[in-house]
């Protein structure tokens, strides 16, 4: 039971994270001047759904804050408070507190101190809003619970299915009592434009969906509940407390946009009954068989022998003036939260009501990985199969067809894992606001390329490096306002965050316009810390690289933000463990750019299979520029251990890959092939191999799964015949100075 609860809670928090991201995006857009209704409504909805869930899960602190926050947003949305920059700033601040509330609720930590922020929100509410128009605070209070349960008096009957005493209470689900009065007074005689029918599905309830919130939202647009169809309600003995049995009918004024109505159902499982129909019976947005029968809905109250329902379900025609309606939401509201998300068939009428919203499904990343792995295996097996068939059979149509299909599956699975890098960038604005508050510096953030799609695994892993780089940029790079003005720069510093795809890599840059790296100080500090000797001759680049040395920090005082000397070291090792590289580019007085070059995917690689002796290796195709069959004399030694190849008048260094791997090859250069590769560490370099087998996509198997990373290798793959081929990490192989062999694997000295 508690497992199920945890599972549902986990979903709630995932949704919170998504909601927060949406809210932040919207608020940022508002801060940037886009205060269109759509943006504001987006923020409102996000906060609204967080509030809804928090109530359901008994996170009272979160509920309380999000409720107040939502009130202000509601006023802004309704146009009663103007979204001035001051208001937007305050909303951003409130958003930060909301994020803290969410994490506090998630980790069970202490709720953040939101008193000040609530005062600010109240001040906005008092100052900008018309109090008369202010919506009633929603009665999401604990008091009505008992009343609601008593009134309907059948909660205990559900005990055989759910142990209410044991499981219901800790859950803290609070059914929301709806004041029937709310529905009594239709505010206007506006002709009904839309008839909306809404019957949440079992799945919607299982997801913790709250029909009342949807109805509220429709009401906020002027909608009214005109009928509740409780026909489906079974006798009490057969009642499944996890299901939903009611279908609400609402009328919504014609002035409301259909999209806005549909938006209300964003958070409702797609298999719920959702019909939006013009009053003149035009079916909008997908035919729904139920519509035809709509007029003949049985309006007699269903006999509820065992239950004493005080509020009798009176059903009315979908006419402008609705009759009072029994709102039975509280009866079933408590159930969904404890319902296991079982994959049972929804009740018959809960068809996907022709909603055209993009539907999505939440999948555990581990399952995707598994799928990807299996597809990789499938690729391998199919090529084994093809190798084993006689040539005549290989030409038959079935085999290429099969390969094509497998390839498509593979591409699809890959694309499932691709996500816009925006997800990794989204935490930056918040961090910057905190950093600004801590340092008193002023920084604005610019981002480009945030829609660049990267493998989910990469996104997850660049979070930490990104955090450190931003902190570093604010703490060390950007100067204080006075210093900046004295240097003739705008008082507000700029951090530019960008992502772009370049070949098989994604380049993420953090560029600041601060003071740049003070090389003298870095050098002095490195000598002081014993990282380099006092007489070391270092190039500018090498000095810049020192800031990534373990234990290096130049900060005079260790601040909260950085200065512990762990940051940039972590950045570099994180980036390298991803098979990427970190580059630092600094111009004194003008700023510093950190570039992370990361692989686009951690799973599949387009590679060239090369052979060294009996062993096969995979060379990432992204690095390959050309292949040369050397003429006699084209490869010449420049020292006993180094060679160059002359290529169109240029001399490029050549490395014998076999020797790097301790494989002796007696081949003369003329019998070998030189593959010219491009590397970020050493420019163009030739790699000498025996032969090239072919080119193919390989599934990257990480060595870390069962071993540990090995410098010079990007992983391993399994070839068509089941043999393992190691994937070469070109950048690590061609490090200037032939440094490959000098890397002793850490931790394996034994």
């Amino acid at each position: 039971m508690s497992d199920e609860l945890d599972e549902i809670q986990a979903i709630f928090f995932e949704e919170c994270v998504e909601g927060l991201a949406v809210a932040e995006e919207g608020l940022s857009a508002m801060a940037a001047g886009d205060t269109s209704a759509g943006v504001i409504a987006g923020v409102f909805r996000a906060v609204h759904s967080i509030k809804g869930g928090s109530g359901a899960f008994g996170h009272t602190a979160l509920l309380g804050f999000s409720h107040r926050f939502e009130n202000v947003l509601d006023e802004v949305r309704a146009g009663r408070i103007a979204p001035t920059p001051e208001v937007t700033q305050c909303l951003l601040g409130a958003f930060d507190i909301l994020s803290d509330h969410v994490s506090a609720a998630q980790t069970g930590g202490d709720a953040p101190d939101d008193g000040l922020m609530l005062e600010q929100l109240d001040a906005i509410l008092a100052g900008g809003g018309a109090p008369a128009a202010q919506p009633e605070p929603e009665p999401v209070a604990p008091e009505p619970v008992a009343a609601a349960e008593d009134e309907f008096g059948f909660v205990p009957v559900a005990a055989p299915i759910i142990d209410l005493d044991a499981d219901f209470d800790p859950f803290g689900f609070e059914p929301v009592a709806v004041a029937l009065d709310d529905f009594d007074a239709p505010e206007a005689a506006e002709p009904a434009g839309w008839t909306v029918r809404f019957g949440p599905s079992r799945a919607a309830m299982a997801n913790g969906g709250e029909p009342l919130l949807v109805i509220r939202e429709l009401e906020s647009m002027g909608g009214e509940v005109t009928a509740v169809d409780s026909e489906a309600l079974p006798p009490l003995a057969e009642l499944d407390p996890e299901d939903s049995y009611f279908v609400w009918t609402l009328t919504v004024p014609a002035s409301v946009d259909e999209r806005d109505i549909r938006d209300c159902f964003d958070f409702v499982a797609p298999d719920s009954l959702i019909e939006v129909v013009r009053a003149e019976d035009t079916v909008v947005g997908g035919a729904e068989p139920g519509v035809a029968a709509f007029e003949e809905l049985p309006f007699e109250p269903v006999p509820f022998e065992p239950i004493s329902f005080e509020a009798e379900p009176v059903l009315a025609e979908p006419v402008p003036t609705p009759a009072p309606v029994a709102v039975a939401a509280p009866v079933e509201a408590p159930r969904p939260a404890v319902a296991a998300p079982k994959a049972e068939a929804p009740k018959p009428e809960a068809k996907s009501g022709g909603v055209e919203v993009a539907q999505s499904i939440r999948v555990d990343l581990g399952k995707l990985d598994q799928l990807l792995n299996l597809v990789g295996e499938l690729v391998i097996r199919s090529s084994i199969l093809s190798d084993r068939l006689p040539p005549a059979d290989q030409e038959r149509v079935e085999l290429p067809e099969l390969s094509r299909l497998i390839r498509q599956i593979q591409d699809n699975v890959m694309s499932l894992r691709a996500q816009p890098i925006k997800q990794a960038f989204s935490r930056v604005p918040r961090m910057l606001r905190d950093l600004m508050a801590e340092t008193g510096k002023r920084v604005q953030l610019e981002t480009t390329g945030e829609m660049t799609e990267v493998d989910k695994g990469v996104i997850e892993k660049i979070g930490d490096p990104l955090t450190h780089m931003i902190r570093n940029a604010v703490d060390h790079g950007i100067e204080g306002p006075e210093e900046r003005e004295a240097a003739g720069k705008p008082a507000e510093g700029t951090i530019h965050l960008s992502a772009e795809q370049k070949g098989g890599r994604i380049i993420v840059r953090v560029r600041d316009d601060g003071r740049g790296i003070n090389r003298e100080r870095v050098r002095a500090k490195a000598i002081e810390r014993g990282i380099i000797t006092a007489d070391a001759q270092l190039s500018d680049e090498e000095i810049d690289g020192l800031i990534c040395a373990p234990g290096f920090s130049t900060a005079e005082t260790i601040s909260n933000i950085s200065g512990r000397g762990v940051g940039m070291d972590v950045v570099r090792s994180n980036v390298e463990s991803l098979g990427g590289r970190l580059e630092i580019n600094s111009v004194p007085g003008e700023g510093t750019t950190f570039s992370m070059a990361l692989p686009l995917t951690l799973a599949i690689l387009d590679g060239m299979i090369v052979r060294l002796g009996e062993q096969r290796f995979v060379l990432p195709l992204a690095n390959v520029i050309e292949t040369v069959q050397p003429e006699p004399g084209q490869v010449q030694a420049t020292s006993p251990t180094s060679e160059v190849i002359e290529l169109r008048g240029q001399y490029l260094p050549v490395r014998r890959v076999g020797e790097m791997f301790g494989l002796r090859s007696q081949r003369a250069p003329e019998d070998s092939l030189v593959i010219i590769v491009e590397s970020d560490t050493a420019g163009h370099v030739g790699l000498m191999v025996d032969t090239i087998d072919n080119r193919r996509e390989v599934v990257i198997k990480s060595l870390e799964d069962n071993l540990h990373p090995i410098r010079g290798l990007g992983g391993a793959t399994i070839l068509g015949d089941g043999a393992i081929a190691l994937i070469l990490d070109v950048d690590a192989l061609v490090v200037p100075g032939g440094g490959f062999s000098k890397y002793v694997l850490k931790g394996l000295a034994a």
Partner: protein
């Protein structure tokens, strides 16, 4: 492991030989026993890491157990085989000379390894006397060295990779 086994303080071990010595590992850690197949050699690894092999789609390191424990490297022969074990969530294959038996021992029968044996190479968790299933009736009992698999983990020195 069944609850029954725990209750009786009994555990099953797989015994195998390296040279003339009899060794044992906990049955619970064993995934499978494979025939020896030449693994793909790796660069920059200690010589006892013989390379990597394909275990149904995942890449696992193959360790020359004899060399790892400081003995002479195993000489390959027809009964050489690889014990695939799981150590803290990571899999590895150990090359052994010959798999002997599966025996039940009691925890109380295990004697601690003598102190002198403890060094970085040693991975002996204890000694236990077991009955040998052999035709040689004159020597029915033998000393079995129980291996501490955690100590044999290839990532034990790397904190961030340690399970």
């Amino acid at each position: 492991m069944s609850t029954e086994a725990i209750a009786n303080d009994e555990r099953k071990i797989v015994t195998f030989t390296l040279g003339n010595q009899l060794f044992g590992i906990e049955m619970a850690s064993l995934i499978e026993i494979r025939e020896w197949e030449e693994p793909t050699p790796l660069p920059s690894v200690p010589s006892y890491v013989l390379g990597v092999a394909n275990l149904r789609g995942s890449v696992i390191p193959i360790v020359g157990l004899s060399e790892r424990l400081g003995w002479e490297p195993s000489v390959l022969h027809s009964r050489s085989c690889v014990l695939v074990v799981t150590i803290g969530g990571r899999n590895a294959g150990f090359l052994v000379d010959e798999v002997q038996d599966i025996v039940s021992i009691k925890g109380s029968e295990i004697q601690p390894a003598p102190d002198t044996e403890v060094n970085d190479q040693s991975a002996i968790a204890g000694l236990v006397k077991i009955e040998r299933r052999t035709s040689d009736a004159s020597n029915p009992e033998a000393m079995c060295l129980l291996l501490d698999l955690e100590a044999l983990s290839l990532t034990r020195h790397i904190p961030e990779l340690a399970a």
